[in-house]
Each structure stands twice: as C-alpha cells, then as structure tokens.
C-alpha cells in the first residue's frame, strides 16, 4: 500500500516533469558577428531562419561594428557575458582558440553528417586550427589579386597584365600619365592590418612567413614599391589609403592598376567607366612561388557555452546553407565543393574565376595568439622602408627582432 502510494507519487512527479519539458527545454543561443549592422548579412539572416524553424531554440542575434567585435567579445568573456557562437576575422581567431576560449569541435565535425572537413581550402582551415585541433569553421573567404584598366593598357601598348613585380614597375612607368592625373598603380600600405594584408604575401612568396620576414625577396619588392612612389608611378598616399579608397582611385580612372580583392567587384562593375580585368598577384620571379592574402571570417563556438549541442546544431545549419552565401550575400565560400553560379556579368564572372584560382595560394596570417603585434611590426617596417627612413633590409631586420621576441615566449 505504502509502496504503491509512493510509486504513484513518483509517477505523478515524472509525468509533471515530462509535461513541463517543452517549456523548460527552450534553449537560448547568443550569436555575435559584424553582419546585419549595415545591411542583411549571413549571420543575422541564418540566425533568424534557424530561430523560426526550431521551437526548442531561441537565437538572439547581435550585430557589432567590425572594429569593435574583438574588444566586445574580450570584455564579455572576462565578465561571463560571452555569446555562444561568434564570428571573427580570421587573423583574430587564434587569440581566442589558442587560449582555450573556443570549444574544441574536432570530434563533432568528424561525426557530423553535414560538415565535411576535407572540402575546405587549406588556408582558411589552418586559421581555425590550433595545435592540431579544430576550434571553428571558415565562414567565407577572400583574397587579393591585381586589377588592371584594359583601356589604359591598350593606350600604352600593353596587352597582358604583369606577371612579376619587376614587370609591374616597367608597366607602371609606361602607364603613368601626370598630365591626366593617372598613376601607374595603386595599392594599400596603410598603417594597419590592411598594410600587412597586402605585404605579407610578398614575404611568403620569398620563402618567409610571419616568423621570418627579413628575406632578400621581400626587401627587393619593397625597393620596387619604394621606387614606384619615388618616381611618381604610385601616389605617396598609398601609405594612408585603405584598400577601398585606394581602389576608388582606380575606379575613377586615376590609376591603371590596383591591388585589391573580390569585395571590390560590384562597385567596380557599377562605377568604372572602362574595360577592366583581374590577374593573379604577381610573383617575385617569372614562375616563382605564388602566395596571396587570406581574408574572410570564421565561425566558432565559445568554450563557456552552456549548450554546446544546440550551438553545434546551429553551426551545422550555417554550413548547410553555404551554397547561398555567394548568390545572396556576395561572399565566396571557403570550400571547393560549391560551384559559383554564373552571374551573366562577363567582367564579374571572369574576375571571380581568377580569385577562385588565387584562393588556392592564399595563406593565413598566423595563426598566432599575438598576431596583431606581429602585424604591427610588419606594417611599421613596410612604412619605414617606403618613406625612406630606413633601407628595406634594415627595416625588415628591425621587424624581425621584434617578431623574434614574440615567438620566443
């Protein structure tokens, strides 16, 4: 009697628990990224879709301006307010993954039916890997190449884009026309990440990398760049222009070549009143080692999430929808198995093909937890050499000394 009574009570309690489950099991996931601040982007759109499609999960999305994202996340992490999923620019990722702030998802990805690690390009995948473990997934990627104004090339009697940096200098001389305010080339050597973004590939082409920057080849190309500026074939303002503004000069017809990436294409299609094309980033010697910058963002689940399973489900949804990121948002997937649809805009389709090829050579910045310090050493050296404050080799040696102290730690 007593026994059954107890059993009944227990049964009731369990029944109540089950009945209450749907209400209690509702999980809230916080997602942070830079998307959706200005116009709809990947993270905000997909978060909303997932939120609506899943009764048991609520997704709270927050868009944060680009230059604030890392600081916001650091501050939130230190005070226990961190999001569950966050999307960082790829060089910033190691700051978190190397310190155990991101969840190790190696196993989960291996077991996933949706995510296939083998399909990702090597460069983007390296940027989410630390110590052999996978801490995130690439969200999208981009890189840089050399844009050229075909009309101005024809006028100067040139038919092909330059293949080496020596050729760039020769062509720039022919293309420069001070009377009509045309520079031979424009690029960005700004005191910031953009400066390193465009210069690191040169170091990599010469056999160096983030840990070894004082190579002969890099110094040689720096000297070429310096001569471009000193001779007036490139504006001295490449030292303060960001890539977007530098390419703006190209679009207005005031520079015949520009180094930049696929994010420029749509504006160029609209603004440029001339025929243009893109080529692979020039190498140091004919047929020499190729490299290019690796841009783009990564996804990661933060280590202190309360709901790793649900967060991973959301991540799988993001990956599952990756075939939409180019047609809807104009970003390039970091995977080889997604065919880019033809847009019908000939110049754009040609340019994309070049960038797709370039992506195979794109190498990440780092990954290193103190990447930003390495980066500052690199762009400071670049600027010291370009302004003539130091010889190219001396500047790179000084950067190397700073970098050595960072790697020794």
């Amino acid at each position: 009697m007593q026994f059954t009574k107890l059993g009944l009570l227990a049964g009731l309690a369990i029944g109540a628990l089950i009945a209450a489950t749907p209400a209690y099991a509702q999980v809230t996931l916080k997602v942070w990224s830079i998307d959706g601040v200005d116009r709809p982007g990947i993270a905000d759109t997909y978060s909303k879709e997932f939120d609506e499609a899943n009764e048991d999960i609520v997704v709270e999305y927050r868009g944060i301006p680009f230059d604030e994202l890392v600081n916001e996340t650091l501050r939130a992490f230190a005070t226990g307010n961190a999001p569950d999923i966050v999307s960082f620019d790829n060089p910033d990722f190691a700051l978190f993954s190397s310190r155990g702030a991101m969840l190790d998802i190696t196993e989960r990805v291996a077991n996933s039916e949706i995510i296939s690690k083998a399909e990702y390009f090597e460069g983007p995948l390296n940027s989410v890997t630390w110590d052999g473990k996978l801490y995130g997934l690439p969200k999208y990627t981009d890189t840089i190449g050399i844009f050229y104004n075909k009309d101005l090339f024809a006028k100067a009697g040139l038919s092909e884009p330059p293949k080496t940096w020596t050729e760039v200098a020769e062509y720039a001389e022919k293309l420069t026309d001070p009377a009509s305010n045309v520079y031979g080339i424009t690029f960005s050597a700004r005191a910031g990440e953009e400066g390193t973004f465009q210069f690191l590939p040169i170091i990599q082409m010469s056999g160096g990398n983030a840990d070894k920057v004082n190579t002969e080849g890099a110094a040689k190309v720096l000297d070429i760049w310096k001569s471009l500026i000193d001779n007036g074939y490139a504006s001295r303002d490449v030292l303060s222009l960001g890539q977007w503004d530098s390419t703006g000069v190209f679009n207005s017809g005031n520079a015949a070549m520009a180094i930049s990436g696929p994010w420029e294409i749509d504006r160029m299609v609209e603004d440029a009143k001339f025929d243009w094309g893109v080529a692979l980033l020039p190498t140091i010697e004919e047929g020499g080692e190729r490299s290019s910058a690796l841009g783009g963002f990564n996804w990661g689940i933060m280590a202190n999430t309360q709901h790793p399973d649900e967060a991973f489900r959301l991540l799988e949804y993001f990956v599952d929808q990756e075939d939409r990121i180019f047609p809807e948002f104009g970003n390039l997937p970091a995977r080889g198995d997604i065919e880019l649809p033809v847009t019908g805009e000939a110049k754009k389709d040609d340019a994309l093909k070049v960038f797709q090829e370039m992506l195979q050579y794109a190498q990440p910045r780092g990954p290193h937890p103190e990447w930003q310090k390495i980066s500052k050493a690199i762009y400071d050296a670049e600027q010291q050499a370009l302004t003539g404050q130091m010889s190219a080799m001396d500047a790179l040696n000084q950067a190397q000394a700073t970098i050595d102290t960072i790697f020794k730690k």
């Binding site: 650091l74 230190a78 001295r236 000069v249 310090k373 600027q383 302004t387």
Partner: protein, 300 residues
C-alpha cells in the same frame, strides 16, 4: 542635532554636501577606473583576468617594456609636438577671433555663433571630412594652395613622414577652435569697459592696453582654457584612426592613440594602461598650472 541641521543649512555643511556629492560621483565613475588602470600597469593581464582586480604583480616590467619599444621616443616627441602645436594654434587663433568678434559690428554675435559648429560635429565625421580635404591627390586643400600659388607640387599631408603629425594638428586646431574662442570671448566680455576708457585717456595704445589690461584680467580664463585644452588635446582620439592610424611608421602616433592601439588593437592591456598612466604626468602638470592660475583671481 539641530545644530547639525542648521549647519547643513547655514554653515560649512552646506558647502560640504554640494562638493561632496559631485566628488563622490566622480570618484566612483572616474576615480575607480583610474585606480584600475594604475593597478593594471603593474600587473600581468590577459583576457581571462580582464574582469578582476587581482592579477600577478610584475613591478615596473610593463614600464620598462614600454620604454624599450622602438617607437617610444618617437611617440613621445610626437605627443609633445601635437600638444604644443595644437594648443598654440587653437589658442592664438581662438584669441584672435575672440578679439575680432569683440568689436562692435553688425552680425558679430551671429557669425561668432557659426564658429561653434565644430563643437557639435561627431569626431568620426570630422576625421572623415578632413581625411578627404587633406588627401594628396584628390584633396581639396592642395587644389586651393596650388591655385593660390603657395605650393608647386601636391603635399602628401597624411603620408609624408614630415607632415603627417601636422595633418592631425591642422584638423585638431579646427576642432578645438570653437572651444577656445568661446571661453576667451566670455573672459573678454567680463572685463569692465571703463578700464579701457581710462587707459585710452592716459594715452595707452592698443597693444599696451592689451598687454596691461586684457591679459592680466584674463589670467584665470586663460588658465582654464589652457588646462582644459591640454586635457582635451591629450584625449583627442577620433582624428587619428580617420586620418593616419598613427602612420606612416608611427610618425603621427601620439600617447593617447598609442595607448588605445596597445590595448584594443594589439590586446596588450597592461602596456596600454601603462602608457595612459604615463600621460597622467602631463595632465598633472596641466592641473598645477590651472590651480596656480586661480590663485590670482579677483572675485567680481
């Protein structure tokens, strides 16, 4: 007890409440962050300990590391040039404008009002606009200077290491002019007219009147303008990311921007805090000047 209340109403208690409320508020919201930063400059900080006060103590290691950075002396030099150049420009032009608008002519106060525009402009926008104006090739300043025959070739204000710090100073003078002119105008208006009339009767010329009446009478205003100007200039931030990001090669980097860069771009919070504590010394200097200048005040 009643003595206590009457003290509040009538005596020193009333004063203490008035000052105390403001000071407590400031201590909580400005003093505490200051202590946090000073502490941090003696500690080893990483992203996990950002939220706590107790971290490994490292003594003066951060200070030594900051001084040993290759750019330290360059940044120090730039900071002095930036502070001195901006303040001189703002003060001299501000004073000149204040004197000019103190003349009696139609529309004087309306037009003076227009000069306060820079006060309400968001810093980010001011930076962006000046970035356009100062650009080497498509910048409008070069076009104007060339058409006036002042320069032959374009000056690359933002990219030439000899000019980059001056590019920021030019924009900063524009930004701070309103503040200087307004405060100095107020000071000028407070000088009794009859002093000038008496001096004129004595045969003093304009320069003598300025030297013997205007300047001494404005001592406390000038003290306030200069010390607040120094603090404002040291805290100037928005113009740097918009114009040069401290480049090329740190030739336009100053302590305030460097501190921000170390903390929030290189994520080296301890060094960033160390630089901000070093700036403290400069403000200490300014505060002494200001407090001394109030010694000579005459109450009206």
């Amino acid at each position: 007890m009643s003595r206590f209340f009457s003290g509040l109403r009538d005596g020193i208690g009333f004063d203490i409440i008035l000052v105390g409320a403001a000071l407590l508020f400031l201590l909580a919201l400005a003093g505490a962050p200051l202590v946090y930063n000073v502490l941090m400059s003696f500690q080893q900080v990483d992203m996990f300990t950002l939220g706590s006060l107790f971290r490994p103590f490292v003594g003066f290691a951060n200070y030594i590391a900051v001084v040993q950075q290759p750019e330290f002396w360059l940044v120090t030099r730039n900071t002095l040039i930036f502070v001195f150049g901006s303040m001189t420009g703002q003060f001299v032009l501000g004073f000149a404008l204040a004197l000019f608008f103190a003349q009696n002519f139609p529309g004087a106060s309306t037009i003076r009002g227009l000069f306060l525009v820079s006060w309400v402009m968001p810093g980010l926008v001011v930076g962006a606009i000046w970035s356009w104006i100062l650009a080497g090739d498509f910048g409008v300043l070069n076009v104007i200077l060339k058409s006036l025959g002042l320069i032959q070739n374009n000056v690359f204000w933002k990219s030439d290491p000899n000019f980059s710090i001056w590019a920021v100073i030019i924009a900063n003078i524009w930004l701070g002019l309103a503040f200087n002119m307004l405060l100095l105008s107020v000071g000028l208006a407070a000088i009794p007219r009859d002093l000038y009339e008496a001096a004129e009767l004595d045969g003093a010329n304009a320069f003598q009147r300025f030297w013997t009446i205007t300047l001494p009478m404005m001592r406390s205003t000038i003290g306030a303008v200069l010390s607040l100007g120094l603090i404002g200039t040291l805290q100037q931030f928005d113009l740097f990311p918009a114009l040069t990001e401290g480049g090329p090669a740190n030739t336009s980097n100053v302590a305030g921007y460097w501190s921000w860069q170390l903390s929030f771009q290189l994520y080296d919070f301890a060094k960033g805090a160390t630089v901000s504590v070093m700036m403290f010394l400069l403000v200490l200097f300014a505060s002494v000047i200001y407090v001394r200048s109030t010694r000579h005040e005459v109450r009206g």
